[in-house]
């Protein structure tokens, strides 16, 4: 009776976003955390901007950049890249929208890794990449895990960007959070309630998980 497709779409987007941002976020965080250059300081606000920007601002610009009414959008379309109203669009919007959640905890995690052990690794002749992989990341693993959990749940919960960039197409881009909006509009409060409760449970369990993680970290 309950329509599962919005959940499958939401999970698909959230898992993909988490994987992409898990990798991309670590590299961005690395540059932000260990680079003293003024340019890096100027990039940081842009990465953090989705935290404070209304989702509609992002949705609007993505739609107008990649839409067929723009020359760039038509160019992409001609070479076979479609970034609106499909899964790729949801993914693109979610990656931009959740980027601060992938970066912010990891940057502070990286910065709290003791300088001495990083330098010890360099002194032993290990490369920067090796040090990142074997020294910095293991020492910041709790920050990375909490970033991934935050990205996942934040992506599940997003609404404005996915509505504008995805277009609410049933079975394709109608995510669980948009489905609630639709159920309420057709006065189908029962379905809205079931869907909302499931999302509520997911959100709460991720937060509880983070709380437990914090305990582990403090030990």
């Amino acid at each position: 009776m309950i329509d599962y497709s919005p959940f499958l779409i939401s999970f698909g987007v959230a898992i993909s976003t988490t994987i992409v941002l898990g990798v991309v976020g670590i590299f961005i965080s690395y540059f932000l955390a260990f680079n003293k250059s003024i340019w890096i300081d100027m990039i940081e606000p842009f990465i953090m901007s989705p935290l404070v920007l209304p989702p509609t601002v992002l949705g609007f610009y993505i739609m107008y950049m990649f839409g067929l009414q723009s020359p760039f959008g038509r160019f992409l379309n001609n070479i076979g890249i479609h970034l609106l109203f499909n899964f790729n669009g949801l993914l693109l919007g979610s990656i931009i929208y959740s980027l601060p959640f992938a970066v912010s905890p990891v940057v502070s995690g990286f910065r709290s890794v003791p300088k001495s052990i990083i330098e010890a690794s360099y002194t032993l002749g290990k490369s920067k990449f090796y040090t990142l992989l074997k020294v910095i990341i293991p020492n910041a693993k709790y920050s990375i895990i909490s970033a991934l959990v935050l990205v996942f749940s934040h992506t599940i919960g997003e609404f404005g960007v996915v509505l504008m960039v995805g277009g609410d197409i049933p079975g394709k881009t109608r995510t669980a959070s948009i489905a609630i909006f639709d159920y309420v509009q057709e006065l189908n409060y029962k379905q809205a309630n079931i869907t909302a409760l499931i999302l509520f449970a997911i959100a709460m369990s991720t937060l509880i998980f983070l709380q437990i993680l914090k305990r582990f970290q403090e030990r």
């Binding site: 109203f85 197409i169 079975g171 509009q185 006065l187």
Partner: protein
């Protein structure tokens, strides 16, 4: 030969089933449930999918490459614009919407002017994107209450959200689509008053097949169905006028 043609027609009807995605104006949410049931009985090979929203938003999305087959607007303006830009086939009017004053509270709607003045909150669809919103604002002017009411309007993003504001008693009265009130989900919930047609420009609603459709035949099949005798009976039962 004749047999072959008949067989061919039958085969085409059976084999070439399709999923038809329709972006539909929000006032159509309930009438399309009935139309879908009828359509899928007649063409069991096709599956219909609907996205409901404000016509103006759909217009923007279609220009950006929205992958839909048929656009059912709440006016004639947006489909005509798409047609002029070469984005759709020729649009055609399928129904004429009516505006009604709706309440689920103890307010006498038979005297609209008094009802507007008495209400604390008046729900109207956003006139920027929803044709029913344009008619709603025009109605306030018609009753000479615009200046008294304008600060207590709550704008719905589309006409069904506007109706929902009234149904949930968050607005005292609302100017909504008559067809939505006639839906079984809402009919017993409140009282309504049909706004005289002279108060607003007729809400002639047009549909068009989008050029980018993946299956023009299927899209046309649904498009033509909207103007069939059986469909007209359903349009009428939801209070729509039928365009000539």
């Amino acid at each position: 030969m004749k047999k072959f043609i008949v067989f061919g027609l039958l085969a085409s009807k059976i084999v070439f089933g399709a999923t038809i995605t329709v972006a539909a104006a929000a006032d159509l949410r309930f009438v399309l449930q009935d139309l879908t049931a009828l359509y899928e009985k007649e063409y069991p090979q096709d599956k219909l999918k609907f996205i409901y929203g404000a016509s103006g938003n759909f217009y923007n999305q279609i220009r950006a490459g929205y992958p839909i087959d048929v656009f059912m607007s709440a006016d004639t303006h947006f489909p005509e614009l798409l047609y002029k830009q070469g984005l759709s086939y020729k649009p055609r009017a399928y129904a004429i919407g009516k505006l009604a004053l709706f309440t689920t509270k103890n307010i006498d709607v038979d005297n609209p002017k008094l009802a507007f003045l008495k209400a604390q909150k008046v729900a109207i669809a956003s006139p920027r994107v929803a044709p029913y919103g344009v008619a709603g604002i025009s109605t306030l002017h018609c009753y000479h209450v615009y200046n008294d009411v304008k600060d207590k309007i709550i704008f719905g993003e589309n006409i069904i959200q506007t109706t929902q504001f009234v149904a949930s008693k968050n607005a005292d009265v609302g100017l909504v689509s008559y067809s939505l009130i006639l839906a079984p989900q809402l009919y017993s919930k409140g009282k309504f008053y049909l706004i005289p047609q002279a108060c607003y420009k007729p809400i002639v609603q047009s549909a068009a097949v989008i050029k980018a459709t993946k299956d023009k035949n299927a899209a046309m099949r649904f498009f033509n169905f909207l103007y069939s005798q059986e469909a007209i009976a359903i349009w009428k039962s939801f209070g729509y006028g039928i365009p000539r």
